[in-house]
Every structure is written in C-alpha cells, then in structure tokens.
Assembly symmetry: C2
Homo-oligomer: 411 residues x 2
C-alpha cells in the first residue's frame, strides 16, 4: 500500500487559535484511494525546523504533501525551504505572475509587490493552478518520491487536491479501497453505547469500529477495506444493519449527517413547518436549522426572547405565569412553544428556556437547568434537562436535545 | 531550553470529523513556561504504529505528552502500549477503581465492567487525578525523561494539565518566558494589512509577527521571549503601540477578543441595549451576541424573520415595500432594523437580509448579496455587501460585518 506523510506549516498551528483541519481532510481523500497516512507533522514558520522536518520526511516517505506557507507575506517560507532542500532554485514563472496580476485587476485592486513572490516556482517543478486564490500549488517528482506543495486556505487547497493531486496519486495506488461510515447516536452515553454494541462489532476485524463522544453525540465510525469500493461498502452494510437493529431510535444518522440535517429532511418529507422560541440558547437552534441549505422551505421564524417582557409581548406568555413559576420553568417553555407555533402558523413550535450560566443559577434552579418544549396540532410536551459543562456546552446540548425532541416526535 | 513532543492518539484524529485541539492548547501552556514543542505527531488507534511513534519519541525528546486513548472501550489502547514500550506491567490500582465506582454511584449509574480497565496503571507510575472524568492521567519518570499520559477530552485534560503537569515542568524549565498577543483587524485584506504594518514589524526580531486570515478577520500574532513575563510583555507593548497607531479603527481587538465580546463590552459600558432582526443569518448574530456571558444585560431580543410574512407581522415591514424592492433590499434591511428597535425598545436595532445560497440567487441579486442596517435614536444606515464563499462563509461574514457596524457606530 502506498503511504504518505503530511506536513502542515504555519506558526498559527502551534497556537490555540487555529486547528490544522487540512491534514484531516487530506487524510480522508488519501484513504479513499487506498493511500495510508503514516505520519502527520505540524511545524511553525521556522526555516530551520521546516528544513529538518522535510529532510526527515524525504528519508522515510514516498509521498509528501505540505500545506501552508505559500502566502505573500514575510513569514511565508515554504517556497524558500523546499527550494533549498530539493536543490532546485526558485525561478519567476511569468505565466503565473500574469495570472496573479489579472486576478487582482478583475477585482479592481492593484497588485502589491509582495504578491510577486507567489510566482516563484522551484526549477523543474510543475505548477498546480489555483482558481480560488493567488498562490499556485507546486508538484515535484524527485526520483521515486512525489512532493505536493499546497496552499493553506481550505477553499484553495481542496479543489486543487481533487483536481490535480488525486489523479496523480490514483495512478500510483492500486488494489485497496477504504470506505468509512459514521453512525450517530443521541440520548445515550459512550459506555452505554459500547456495552450495547461491543458484542457485535468485536466480531469483525474488517470493518474496524471506533466510538467517539463529540458534543453530546456519540459517533460510531466504521472503516472497511476491500479490493474495490463496492466490496468495502458491502462489508460496511453488513455490520451497519446489525448495529442499527441494536441501537433502534437512539440512532439518528447513518451517513454522518448533522441533527439539523436529519430534522430538516423529516420536516421536508412530511411537508411540515417549524418555528422556534429561544431564551438561553440565544438563537442557536434557529442558526442550526437555517445552516441547512433550503431550510426556508420549512423554517418559518425564530425569536430570541431573552427578556421577560419579550416573552410576554412576542409570544403571549402570561405575565402571571412568569411571576408564579419563573421564566425558567416547564410552564413557560410550553407557553413559548405554543406561542411561537400560533404566531408563525407553523406545524411545530419549539420553546427553550434555561440557565446557561456562568451566573444566574440558584440552589433551586442551578446553572444547566433547561426546559425544552414542543407543541404541535394535537399535543404539547416538555422535558427538563440538567446539563453539564460551561455556557457553550449547555447551550449546545440544549439545542441538540430540542432538535432531538423534534426528531423523535416525527419518527 | 527544555523541549517537548506531543503525541495525539485516536483514529478519529485521522478523519475529517475531528480536530486535535488538545495539542494546540498544550503547546501554548508549554510555551508560557519556556518549553518548546519540537514535534507534534498524530497516530490512530493502532497498536503497532503507536508503539513505533512512542519508541521514536523516547529516542529524541525528554518530555513526552500523550493525549487520548484512555477510555473504557475496546479501541482505547494507550495504557497497553505505553506499558509494553516502557516495560512496566499494568497493575490494578484499587484506589483509582474505588474513585471510579464512587463517581458512577454519585450519578446514580452502575459502573459497567469495561470501566475497570481505567484503573490499570503502569508499575511505578504516578496517578494524576481526574475530577472531571473517569480516566486518571499517568506520570512516569524514566531516567531523564518525563512522560505524561493524559485523557483526550479537553475538559478532563486541561485542568489535569494545569494542576499536575505544569507544576512538574515549571520546576524543570527556567530562564525563558514566552508571551503572545493577538491583535485583530476587520475591514481590510491580508495583503493590505501586511503592506501597512510590515515596515514596522520587520524591524523587530523579538517579538516575531505572524499575520493570519481567519473567517473574515485578520489576526496579527505577536510572540516575545524575555527572561520573565514582565520583560516579554514590555517588548510586546512597544510593538503593539506602533501597530495600533497604524491600524487605527480597523483594529478591533488587542487581546484576541471576539467581535461579539468587543461589541458587548461597548454596549455594557455605555448602558445601551440591542435587538436584532435577521433573515439570511438565521439567528447567528443573536447566537454570537448571547455567546458572551452576561449578555442578558444588553441583549433584549432577536427575531429570525425567514418568511416575508414574519417580516410584516413581527417587524412591521410594509408589505408594499417587500413587493416593490424585494425582501433582499436596503429598504427592507433598514425597516427590519427600525422595526426590531421599536418592538424591543432597544437603543440599537440591527437588520440583516440577504441571499446565503446555494440557491435563490438571480442575475440582479446574486448569492452573497447581503444588506446590513443599523438604527439608533438619531440615525438609520445600511451597507450593501457582496460576500464570497459558501453558505456558511456568507452567513459568518454577514454576521461579522453587522457586528462591526455596531462597533464602529459605538466608537
């Protein structure tokens, strides 16, 4: 099996401000054509360290893919270091320079001189066009080794990878196809899921199974390898069916879909509409529902009634109910759900009220207490939740539970 | 300078579903006490490969920190592999087992048998307590080398790192203190910012400067090293003042704050309130504003008026205005802003309407066209935007521009 090594370049990747998502994306693409990623290294904008990393990589790997450090600024050192290590001087590529110039002109900008740097290409290397940015990618064949030097921004790197890198590597790899599938579970803990399905998945060495806990969802990752895509998928199908049977209605996604995509599809299929009244989630549920393209078909409106007054004014929650039970109560959650349903004339209304913290909690109503409610034409229900974690986690979990309430109602 | 190596363990980190945020967080903590991270490696739940990685790491690094693979499930292999490579058999630690049992009992759960595995500790290793989860950390001294084996979930790993790992490493590192600072710029491109400030920052070797483009914001990262924290901070201060002068009102954050934190602080200081009417951003602006703890002081309410009817009903946008100019128009954006301001009795009302795509665009009004508007007691203004990218980017950029409009108005 062909194996590859990824080098992610950029000091920002050694800070807590930025994550290296590129290598994850690249890994999946490589896996899909049977290329294994042996190692991923992350280095800063540090010439000496990048040089060392690249020299090591050239010793051990036949396919090397770097991302980042091709920009116009002083700290972008990738071209320089690769040129030095590969012993190929940088040469100004007039055609690339002209493309960059035209790109600026089209947008009505003058090209600043530092952008010229991006037209420097190591001698004998191939240029990989970049329709989504100024820096082209670079492809070098060095004996048995292939080296791809790609830009860092995903929207530039990804199309370049699919259009230019994949065809080159697909030709070199053969015979193994790896397929992955992600099942998602809601409403159970990681240990409980493992207890439930370990007796099944441990009987299989192919596919392999990994269970992950991710922001209130349990993900079950299945990876199968076969001589072609169909064989690998058949292996996945067999295990998936058994796991589905066992997990029942706890399983909400079979292909890694998000909860909002699943709910959106249910609403679309049934021709239902939805409206959301949020307090502690502050617009997060509306935001998640409208993250899905085409959500205007079923999402009618959302309100973020943070103040008590707005709950009364917009949703018609009775003032005396808030006084008697408090804004964070089952009664108010249900009144919010039915209020927004009526006001938007939607099939389903959702109401959420709670205490996301860090302040605002009391002995009786602690931070993390959230009521979610659902109202449709025949029924109104609520669910109290005690959610762990910080403000962001509480808000996320609450939005997830509210969407799951809709999903279960629509099953 | 003491140097460290980080090994992140977990097959999920070799998929596009999960990013290794732990190593980034750890890197900053280590830098702050003058410990340099030389290499970061990411390996899957693969015994042979982890063993190879660990053996290599032991050859080259004196401080090794691993995260992940300590869970209760079959695929958690970290304990086993470290035990083997270090030649220290796993021994059941009764005290740890009791702690885990009690943890389950407190939550009213029965401990499943697979959790017992988490009480296995390599011979002669120290246990690092985990108040936020079941798996304790493990600390091994092996001659000159120190090895920290930490759990993967950040809310377990981070407190453990601060409480147990930092004190041990602080004792071993001395003499160098590294400080970082993040300035953020809105409304300028990466090249333009670099053109503007490169003449200043290139005069400094300490601090070093890195410019990053991140979701519509330009981040200027400054890193200084000094013999102590004060010295490093003084170096940062000197450069920061010069950059601030140059960047003027384009600079919106000096300590890496988010735009919503900056706007929230401005509103708090002035005692103003805000209400938001969103169409294409679908609740994202309300969500961002309410991400900030204490935002209930200034955030009154938000509405997501996705349908035309809801724009008329909730915000009082005249129906004939929508017919004449279209829902995506400067007129409707301003009417939304003034409508929500009036309805919520807020100091500032925000209105956003646009086409986030992927469908819904026309020749005249393409995907990416967004109008943002602001209304306060004396004035109403709007700004048309043509935003690049996909649905998520357009929505994010629009929310950023709307918040920046508030920030500039409140300067």
């Amino acid at each position: 099996m062909l194996s590859a090594e990824i080098i992610a370049i950029g000091s920002e990747l050694l800070t807590p401000n930025r994550v290296d998502t590129n290598s994850l994306w690249i890994t999946e693409r490589l896996n899909s054509i049977g290329v294994e990623v042996k190692l991923k290294t992350i280095v800063g904008d540090d010439e000496a360290r990048l040089e060392e990393t690249l020299r090591d990589a050239l010793k051990r790997s036949n396919v090397i893919i770097s991302t980042g450090g091709l920009g116009p600024t002083e700290d972008d050192i990738t071209r320089k270091v690769f040129s030095r290590v590969l012993g190929r001087p940088l040469i100004l590529n007039e055609q690339v320079l002209e493309t960059i110039r035209q790109r600026f002109a089209r947008r009505g900008y003058r090209m600043t001189p530092n952008n010229e740097k991006q037209a420097l290409i190591p001698q004998g290397a191939e240029v990989l066009p970049n329709p989504n940015g100024t820096a082209p990618g670079i492809f070098v064949r060095e004996g048995e080794k292939t080296i791809f030097i790609l830009p860092g921004p995903p929207r530039e790197m990804q199309p370049m990878f699919d259009n230019a890198v994949m065809p080159i590597l697909s030709g070199s790899s053969k015979g193994v196809h790896i397929c992955k599938r992600v099942l998602k579970v809601s409403g159970l803990g990681e240990s409980a899921v493992d207890d439930m399905i370990a007796p099944i998945y441990t009987q299989y060495r192919n596919p392999t199974t990994t269970i992950l806990f991710n922001m209130g969802e349990i993900e079950v990752h299945l990876t199968a390898s076969g001589k072609d895509e169909q064989t690998a998928n058949e292996l996945l199908d067999e295990l998936e069916i058994k796991l589905e049977e066992k997990l029942g209605h706890y399983l909400f996604a079979r292909r890694g879909e998000t909860m909002e995509e699943v709910v959106g599809l249910q609403l679309s299929v049934k021709g239902y509409t939805i409206a959301v009244a949020e307090s502690c989630t502050g617009g997060l549920i509306a935001k998640r529902l409208t993250d899905v393209p085409g959500s205007s078909r079923y999402f009618l409106e959302g309100v973020v009634t943070y103040s008590n007054q707005s709950k009364v004014d917009i949703l018609g929650v009775p003032e005396e109910m808030i006084v008697k039970h408090g804004a964070v109560s089952a009664e108010v959650a249900e009144a919010m759900a039915s209020g927004i349903k009526q006001r938007a004339l939607a099939t389903i209304g959702i109401g959420v009220t709670g205490i996301a913290g860090p302040t605002g909690g009391t002995e009786e109503k602690p931070v993390g207490l959230v009521y979610i409610a659902l109202c449709d034409d025949v029924h109104v229900e609520h669910k109290p939740l005690i959610l762990p974690g910080d403000r962001q986690m509480i808000r996320h979990y609450a939005s997830q539970a509210a969407l799951d309430l809709v999903r279960r109602r629509l099953l």
